[in-house]
Structures are given as C-alpha cells and as structure tokens.
C-alpha cells in the first residue's frame, strides 16, 4: 500500500485510543501525518492543513488487533507505556514504528533492535518505566487528620496510573491518594480498589506539595522534621558529591521532597 505525504497535521485527544485512531485514518486515507499533536496539555495548534481526529474505539481496536497479530501482547503494552512519554517526538515515533510494523506482516520487525525506530521505542518505554521506578521512591505521603495518606507529584511523564499497583500492594490497609498536580489527575485507593480522581480547587500548595495546616494530622509536621533531620545526619561531609546526588535525584523533583525543599 502506498502512503503519500507527509502533508497533514493530525490532532487527537491524547489517549492511546485517539492515537490508534489517527493511525487508522492515516492508513485509510493513505496520507501520512506531518505532525501528530495531542490536545491534552493545551498544545498550541499551528496553522496549516489540520485534521482533528476523534477517538473511535472500534478503529482503535482494529489497530490493536493488528499490532498483536504482527507482534504480541507484550509489544502492545510496550507501545502503551511508551505513549505515556511526554517527549515531543513520541507520537511521530509511534507512527513511524507502526507504519513499518504493518508493512511487514510476518516479519520479526519488532524484535530487531538494530532498527532505529524499534530501538527508540524500547528506549522511550524504558525512560517512562525508569520514572515510574523513581517515583516508587520519591512519592511523599502526608497523613491527614482523618488518617488518609496523600501525596502530590509532578513527574515528567504521565505515570500516575502506573504507580497504583506498587502502592496498592505496599499499603493495602489505608486510604491513600497520589495526585499529579500538573495533569490534574490522581489515583485513589479505598482499601478495596483503585480509581482515578480529579480534585476541585487546590488541595495541595503548588510550590511545596503540602496540604493545608487544618487538613494535616497533628504529628505530620513532627515526622517531617524528623525526616529532614535524618537526611542531614546521614550525609558524610568529607565525601560531598552534589553532582552525583543531582544525577540520581534531579532538581526538578525536589519541590515535593521535604528533605530538599526545607519549608
């Protein structure tokens, strides 16, 4: 099948179904995208030949089945994880990758890490997973007066949903909430199941991630102080190596870490 272009700028709703619908339409109309823009984060829409695509579960499902046929379930999950990356090229990378995957029905394309796009896709997914792993450590809960544990996060990628399984198995006996303050989306656990929530108003102070004084448990400030004391005490002055500390824990993550923000 011949695909012409690239001419068209596609916009979609930012969901994986939306992206798969874009892929479906591009194949159907045989017109390759010049750019694919997710509208989720208030993207500026440039002037040009724009096709706004609405997410269609049926068409997305066909793309899904096609992916599994030509690779496997695991590869589909890899694509879904990579899609959570918010680096600018991700959507176009996924398009380039899928174009090649669908051009080689029986090939082993998706296993060939010597192919640039396969490698980049694997790397993109790896970066997302790395951030998930980092946040298993960097989430900081505060206890509320009604004994709930709540945390604000602001990760690079849209990972809040991927954090839920880890914390569900770690803290199965408490209510907890992890909230992505920039994307305004959180996961809430009520000791039974996890559900996605959006909060009204600002429950968290944006610069510190703290909840208001009235909402905090009475011992919350005390334990935060203990933790800050601990952080300072375990440092070995003679071995100071801030560059290394920053490479493991980049400055952009500090604002919601009480040991680094010291407010």
């Amino acid at each position: 099948m011949k695909i012409t272009g690239p001419f068209i700028i596609y916009t979609y709703d930012g969901t994986i179904d939306g992206l798969f619908t874009v892929v479906f339409r591009a194949f159907q109309s045989r017109s390759a995208p010049r750019e694919i823009l997710s509208l989720r984060l208030g993207t500026q829409i440039p002037i040009g030949d724009i096709t706004a695509v609405e997410s269609c579960p049926e068409e997305a499902g066909r793309v899904r089945r096609g992916i599994i046929e030509r690779s496997d379930e695991r590869n589909l999950r890899l694509l879904q994880v990579a899609h959570l990356s918010e680096s600018k090229q991700t959507d176009m990378l996924l398009w380039k990758y899928l174009k090649k995957l669908f051009a080689m029905p029986y090939g082993e394309y998706y296993r060939n890490m010597l192919d640039e796009d396969v490698y980049d896709l694997v790397q993109t997914a790896r970066r997302v997973k790395k951030e998930v792993h980092r946040f298993h450590g960097f989430v900081r809960f505060q206890r509320t007066r009604d004994n709930m544990y709540v945390a604000a996060i602001d990760p690079d990628n849209d990972i809040v949903r991927l954090l839920a399984p880890h914390f569900k198995s770690r803290f199965p006996d408490r209510h907890w909430l992890i909230y992505d303050v920039r994307r305004k989306c959180g996961v809430f656990f009520d000791t039974q199941s996890v559900r996605e929530v959006e909060l009204e108003g600002n429950a968290f102070e944006l610069d510190t991630g703290y909840i208001g004084q009235k909402a905090r448990a009475l011992d919350e400030d005390y334990y935060r102080k203990l933790w800050q004391t601990y952080y300072d005490s375990v440092n070995i002055q003679e071995r100071k190596n801030s560059r290394q500390m920053r490479s493991f824990m980049p400055g952009r993550y500090w604002k919601y870490l009480p040991e680094k923000s010291k407010k």
Binding site: E108, R111, N112, M113, L114, D115, E116, Y119, Q123, H133, H136, G137, F138, V139, R140, F141, Q142, R143, Y149, A151, H166, F167, S169, R170, F171, P172, D173, R174, D219, Y222, Y223, K225, L226, W227, T229, Y230, Y231, S233, V234, N235, I236, Q237, E238, R239, K240, N241, S242, R243, Q244, M245, S247, F248, M249, L257, E259, K260
Partner: protein, 412 residues
C-alpha cells in the same frame, strides 16, 4: 518525649552513616494481612549530598560501645554524646517513616552495649515488634553482632531480610592491631552460621513450602579501605572468597574517613581514598557481572588497581592477544570483556546481530563508550586488520583523552 526522639535520631543516624551498605534488594515478600512488602529490585527513596542512596532508615540502636576499635567513631574512648533508643521508639519511628514512603525499611546496627548477647537481644526485640505487633512486611537489614549467641543470630535471621557482619579490616593481623578486642573468628563464625542457615532453610523449603525463610536477601559485609596497608589484590582475593565460599550477596568497600586522627595506629589521610574505593567497586562488578576471576584483574605482580583507568581497560591493555573482539561473531563472554561495553549492550549485541552487521551508530545508541571500545573491536566500520595500535599507543591516547584529574567519581 518528642524532643528526645529527635535528639536520639540526630545522634544515632550520624553515628550509623559510615556503614555504606544501603541496598534494599534481593528479597520479595507480600504484605499479607499487614503493611509493606519487599521488592526484589530495591527502591531508592532519596540521595544524600554525598551522592549515596537512602533506601533504608539506617540507624544505630545505640552508639554506646564496650569496644575501642581505632577506625570507629563510636569507640568508647571518644568523648561524644551517647544515646540509645528503646525498641518501641525505634519501631514507631520506622513505621511512621514507612507509611509516608520516606523509606523502604530499616537498617539496624548498633554499638555493643553491655555484651554482644544483650545487644543482639535488643535488635531482635525491635524486629520482633515490627513483624509481630505492627505486622510490618517491609525490608529489615540487621547486623549480626560478633560474639552473640548462635541462637540469637538464628532468631535474627528469621526476622530480617538481610543480615550482615562487618569484617572491616581486610586482614586478621591488621584487625588485631587496630581492634585488639576482636579477631577473625568472632566475625567469621556468625558469617558461616548465617550462610549455613540460609542453605538449610532453602533445602527445607524444597520439602515443605511453608518452612521459615532465613535471611531471604542473603548477607553482606563491609571492608574499610585505606585504614590498613592491605593491597587491592588482597582485598579482591578476600572478597572473591566471600562471594564463593560464604555466598555473600554484596561486599561493600568503604574508603576510610579519618575519624580518629589522634590515633597514631592510623594513617594520616587528608581525604577518604575515594578513587581507590571506586576502582574496587568496578573490580567487584567485573567479578559479579562480567565473569572475571579476581586473579585476572590483579595478581601478585600487579597488586594495585590503576587509579587512572578502570580495571577492565587495564586488563585489556595487559592482554592484547585477546583483542580485537569481532562483535558479529564473538561469544557473549568475550564481548563483555571489551572496555566500554556493558552488560546491557553486550546482551543487545548478541541478541540482534542476526539482523545485520553491528555498526558505530548502533553502539552509540546503546550507550557504548566508543572512545574506549573502538580500539578493541571489529565491526562494520572496523574490518579485520584495521585495529593496528599496540597497547602502549592505546594507553597514551586514552589517558590523554580522559585526563579528568580532580573530577569526582561515581560510587556505583
């Protein structure tokens, strides 16, 4: 009450910081009816200004100590504030940190208070409280106190994920000089007891699935580097034996921080030997992940790791007959021995070369350090006989190109 705990935390975390071990990996347990779990990959929760990971609440039960070891900040002859927790305080602190996701678990060590048995009993009491009263299933790393009753050490192993006994000084002769109240027997008997009990529990669990697990994350130890005159060769040989015979999970190397500079038995150091420590870790990785034997890295004629280059590069320059390695044909083990190629890249190369010839572009994407690797490989851009430099020429170029004197090195 609260102020007291704050003060104790300050004293006893500061006193515990010279133990470099921090890992929370190697165990996996579910939360069951309680709280917490342990993940086999380990999780870092923060990083200190010195670049080390904080995974566990690393703390001493007490910094009171009946011993007077020259290299230790908590020796009895030092005049410093002393404190001791109660089991309840420490268990409560651990739970409150854990619930807030500050930590992955507890690393409990201690000075020796009254007697080894008494101290071990206190540590066990903390772990018992956590496991039984708080139903805590997170990670616990405990010190086995040298000289404690084997029954107490066994109990510790059933409560903890990992146990460790620190050897500290890498030869018995020097240990006797710096810590006259200790000897290798007091260190190695608990260590051997632990490795024996681990093996036993593994066998038991093959027969009965519910047999109790003994230190499921294994045991580790620490060697202080630079407080005594052992060579790197002696240290690596010792470590290699510990991995092989005692089946240790990790050996940690701790560059000696000159804490008791008044003690004339210790060398006068301006700075902890951080470069040397880093090279030892690199050599340790070669043994654990790159299939190197200790006597391939160093031997009696070359007993010291070169400071100016990593040990794999030094090995390659000493063994030019093993290179260049053909990336399209060589075995995984051979590719692992190329300077600049890591475990992940070697795996990718071996799994994907059937799709085509490996080239510079691929290697760069994988993160291979081409500036080093290019002298030791054949690939698309480097056909046979293109690599004609000899060892001393390569050495000259590499030492010139990476002359980052004064650059800070990465610990792990």
């Amino acid at each position: 009450m609260k102020e007291k705990v704050l003060l104790k935390l300050d004293i006893l975390a500061d006193a515990a910081k010279y133990d470099v071990s921090c890992s929370s990996s190697g165990s996996s347990r579910g939360s069951g009816k309680g709280v917490g779990n342990a993940r086999s990959c380990g999780v870092c929760h923060s990083f200190t200004e010195d670049g080390r990971c904080i995974s566990l609440l690393k703390i001493l039960y007490t910094n009171n100590c009946i011993y007077d070891c020259a290299y230790c900040v908590n020796r009895r002859s030092n005049d410093l504030p002393r404190a001791a927790f109660t089991p309840e305080e420490l268990a409560g602190l651990t739970m409150n940190f854990y619930r807030r996701n500050y930590i992955e678990g507890l690393f409990l060590s201690s000075g020796v208070m009254r007697s080894p048995d008494y101290t071990m009993e206190q540590l066990n009491e903390v772990a018992r409280k956590l496991r039984n009263e708080y139903r805590f299933n997170g990670y616990i790393h405990m010190k086995a106190i040298p000289g404690a009753d084997p029954l107490l050490v066994r109990e510790a192993g059933l409560l903890a994920d990992r146990l460790s006994v620190n050897i500290e000084i890498p030869s018995e002769q020097q240990l006797l000089r710096l810590a006259p109240e200790k000897n290798y027997d007091t260190v190695f008997s608990p260590m051997n007891l632990i490795s024996h009990s681990m093996l036993e529990s593994r066998e038991e669990r093959k027969k009965y699935r519910k047999a109790p697990r003994f230190a499921p994350a294994g045991q580790s130890t620490q060697l202080i580097v630079g407080a005594s005159p052992e060579t790197d060769y002696t240290i690596l040989k010792l470590a290699s034996g510990l991995y092989g015979k005692q089946k240790l999970k990790r050996v940690y190397y701790s560059g000696f921080v000159p804490v008791n500079s008044y003690d004339s038995r210790l060398p006068a150091l301006q700075q902890p030997p951080l470069v040397r420590e880093n090279r030892l870790y690199q050599a340790d990785w070669l043994m654990r992940f790159y299939h190197f034997r200790y006597d391939e890295i160093l031997d009696e004629k070359h007993p010291v790791l070169e400071q100016g280059m990593d040990p794999k590069l030094a090995y390659a320059l000493r063994n030019p007959h093993l290179y260049p390695v053909d990336l399209d044909r060589a075995s995984y083990e051979e590719i692992l021995r190329v300077p600049g190629i890591g475990v992940r890249s070697a795996r990718i190369i071996v799994a994907n070369r059937r799709f085509g010839r490996i080239g510079f572009g691929h290697l760069k994407k994988m993160g291979v350090a081409l500036n080093r690797a290019k002298y030791f490989i054949l690939c698309r851009e480097l056909p046979a006989r293109s690599n004609t430099l000899n060892s001393s020429q390569i050495r000259q170029r590499l030492v010139k190109s990476s002359n980052g004197a004064g650059k800070q090195l990465s610990l792990f």
